[in-house]
């Protein structure tokens, strides 16, 4: 029996007030006013599908006590690289073994549910498990309904055959080239067709067909479903489909249109986590994926669900938020407006791949060193130990700093240097247990950082090389709490 062992989630902190979006765009499309309630999750300029995947993956692995998966599938339709396996970047940021089975699953809104099925159908034994991370950062045209209804985020599941919190009862799939929307290789944005047609000819026909076959195969019935997951930005469609299937309307898992927005191919996985956060043992979860057909999965929560402790999960991710009222920032961060970046922003940002490859342990894995002679922890790891009383040669074992916390020794908010979200915060972080590094900070709220602030470190975009279509990643410090800097001595 295979199923879910653990889950993790990540929602960007910034939540853009939909009212701000309406105020900016209703002059052009008055119908947007009807979507003006609540907020949507919005990536910071330095977040993308890879960085969010790393966060969700860490959240999930930490809940498992740092066990290492033997497979990692990354599902997304917005992967930063079209030809460079994105899941391997995630794997190295998570410091997973190179023996890993990895792949990117993409090309459809079903990518998340299809990757889930694929991992569930693999044979797992004992501690062996696979990690699914679904992550999405979709771009949409300025002033579009999609912009109002979508959100950014990531979800992760550990899939195995032991210590399950939810077990798989059955799977059904349907492959139908129903083109409700598409994005061609030369397009920046999706092109979609009328909602009512998508509902009537798409959801209302293909979902019941797949679900009825699944229930029959599992010898189950629709009235037993306690959690019905149908990812869509169509607000009323899940309830309409549930009704047609005879599923209790109360079982419909809310698509979070006014808190996060629909997270593309990650939506089904994120909503599964939402269901698992409230599910009781024995309850049935019906999960659907929709896009050129249907994925339908029936799962049942086990007794272990009561004992599972998420580290952050979806509810923790939702709680950790920062309200954003500036729609212009959203446009800038999503490259929807040509911002004047100034001459300092023009500096060439080429990555020298052979040099990058030599430093990959540091850049992607955030690995430093620990000296075997004197025990000093240090980052970066150089040939000689940095301890002035030691300086031994080649004496350091690789040592991860990714899960360390630290204290801000020095800092500033730099308004001269180029940054996509000025001022640029950076400073010296003194890590607990030793080691320090001058590094960028992100997610800092003005006036709430000072020497002594506590930080954790996170994998983020460092720079975009728009000339060559590359992007650099590195780790940045984020204050654990946005402590007040008032009341100085």
């Amino acid at each position: 029996m295979s199923g879910i062992r653990a889950y993790g989630a990540y929602i960007p902190r910034a939540r853009l007030a939909k009212q701000a979006m309406v105020e900016a765009n209703a002059w052009f499309d008055a119908s947007l006013k009807s979507l003006g309630k609540g907020e949507r999750a919005m990536c910071n300029w330095d977040e993308d599908s890879i960085t969010m995947a790393v966060e969700a993956g860490r959240d999930c692995l930490q809940a498992l006590g740092e066990l290492a998966p033997s497979a990692l599938y990354l599902a997304s339709t917005t992967l930063p690289f079209l030809d460079r396996q994105n899941s391997v970047v995630v794997a190295e940021a998570l410091n997973l073994t190179p023996g890993l089975r990895s792949m990117d699953v993409t090309g459809s809104q079903r990518a998340g549910s299809s990757a889930l099925i694929s991992l569930l159908e693999r044979s797992w034994q004992g501690d062996d498990f696979g990690l699914l991370v679904a992550s999405e950062h979709r771009r949409s045209k300025a002033g579009s309904r999609s912009e109002m209804l979508w959100g950014d985020g990531a979800a992760a599941l550990a899939i195995g055959d032991d210590e399950l919190i939810a077990e798989l009862l059955g799977v059904e799939t349907l492959a139908v080239d129903f083109v409700d929307h598409y994005r061609g290789e030369e397009s920046e944005f999706n092109y979609d067709w009328e909602e009512r047609w998508v509902r009537d000819e798409g959801f209302m026909k293909s979902v019941p067909a797949a679900v009825n076959r699944l229930l029959e195969r599992c010898d189950s019935s629709s009235d037993l479903i306690k959690h019905f997951i149908l990812p869509t930005e169509q607000a009323r469609t899940p309830a309409a489909v549930a009704k047609r299937l005879g599923i209790d309307p109360a079982a419909v898992v809310d698509n979070q249109l006014t808190t996060v927005g629909v997270v593309g191919a990650a939506q089904s996985i994120l909503l599964l986590i939402k269901a698992l956060e409230t599910a009781s043992p024995g309850e049935l979860v019906l999960l659907l994926g929709f896009g050129q057909g249907v994925d339908a999965l029936l799962l049942r929560a086990t007794e272990r669900i009561n004992d599972f402790k998420a580290v952050r999960g979806l509810s923790g991710s939702l709680a950790r938020r920062r309200e954003e009222q500036n729609y212009n920032k959203f446009l800038s961060f999503n490259n929807l407006v040509q911002r004047d970046v100034g001459k300092r922003g023009e500096v060439d940002k080429q990555t020298y791949l052979s040099g990058y490859n030599r430093r990959k342990d540091l850049l992607t894995g955030f690995l430093g060193g620990k000296c075997r002679e004197c025990g000093t922890e240090q980052i970066p790891r150089e040939k000689y130990c940095v301890n002035p009383d030691c300086q031994a040669l080649d004496s350091q074992d690789k040592h991860s700093f990714a899960n360390k916390t630290g204290t801000v020794a020095t800092w500033t908010a730099d308004r001269l240097t180029f940054d996509w979200n000025p001022p640029a915060y950076f400073g010296m972080v003194q890590f607990d247990g030793g080691g320090k590094l001058m590094m960028d900070f992100t997610e800092v709220e003005e006036g709430k950082l000072d020497s002594g602030s506590r930080v954790s470190v996170h994998f983020r975009v460092r720079q975009f090389d728009s000339q060559r279509g590359f992007r650099k990643y590195f780790w940045k410090a984020i204050p654990l709490e946005q402590a007040s800097a008032e009341g100085e001595a």
């Binding site: 020298y352 001022p423 010296m428 001058m438």
Partner: protein, 399 residues
Amino acid sequence: MASGIKDKVVILGMGCSKFGERWDASPSDLMVEAFEECIQDAGIEREQIEAAWFGAGIDAFNVGSSAMPLAIALRLNYIPVTKVENMCATGTEAFRGAVYAVASGACDIALALGVEKLKDTGYGGLPQRTRGLENDMYWPNLSAPGAFAQLASGYRAKHHLNRDDLKRAMAHVSVKSHANGVKNPKAHLQREISEEQAIGAPYIAEPIGLFDCCGVSDGSACAIVTTPELARSLGKQDLVSVKALQLAVSNGTESSHDSWDGSYLKTTRIASQRAYDEAGIGKPREEITMTEVHDCFSITELVTMEDLQLADEGKGVNAVLDGNFDAEGSNPCQIDGGLKCFGHPIGASGLRMIYENYLQLQGRAGARQLDSPRMGLNHNLGGFPHQNICSISIVGPLN
């Protein structure tokens, strides 16, 4: 046992261009301007120069690499010329090369010249530039004020200072330098500012405001050095000799080892102590008459006063506000206006500082002349508080 550099080499002549936004002048023009003053001051012919050291900091916006730009600009007679670059200590590095060459006996007369053309970038502040292939991959995109703002936060945390008190002392540092700069016709900025202006100026990198930053300008400075014997034989009197010439370069301890807390400049402490030892100075506060220090930012000067032992550790704010480093104070600092008013054409600054001390010691500093100066200390700091190069030179009358 090495005997050090003290009194082995004297300054035969010096020159310094007008510093400022020299839209009119190319790097070559600036070099010639400094050199012409220098060689006339030295009273020798160009053909008597046997070797030269050329300091230039930022190749991309300046003269390009190699020593050829100096040889070509000055039409030097196919002598050995060495290009040096060591961040903001570049000017002093050129001087060190020339002085060491004379001290070694390899030549009798050597030239050191530094130049920088910073105003061809098209924007304010120092040029945005690479920090090397590997560093560029993970270093913060820090500006110079952003780098030195770190010192303010580290210093404030270490000594539990109120932010406003530190900001006021930083303002005083700049007010004092501007007051000095008014009296210097070669300074870029020649106007007084008030403490209120400095405190109220827009932020560049918290807590550094606009008036906490030195200017950005074009300029060149130049020295010709020789042996005491040769200088005397040329009829020179009131000789100014090199008492100490030291350099300390960070080895990564500050940036990667827990022992450094970010509140001071380790290299300055090490280099200055070595320089005091080399010059035979036991009581810096009594023996150092004047200092030209690397006031790239006001906080750098304030902390440097402690690192040079001219103020007690943690008491820099009081020493500054008490006026110890004002023109009338116990240890005048930046009597020429400093980087604050001259700006910081990187390759030239170290030599510009020595030029001021040289003039003061010879009683030729005009309206800003100090009463009976004895020892002048010059301090350059290149890089960032957590990784830097510090050069210290001390000059004084030849005994």
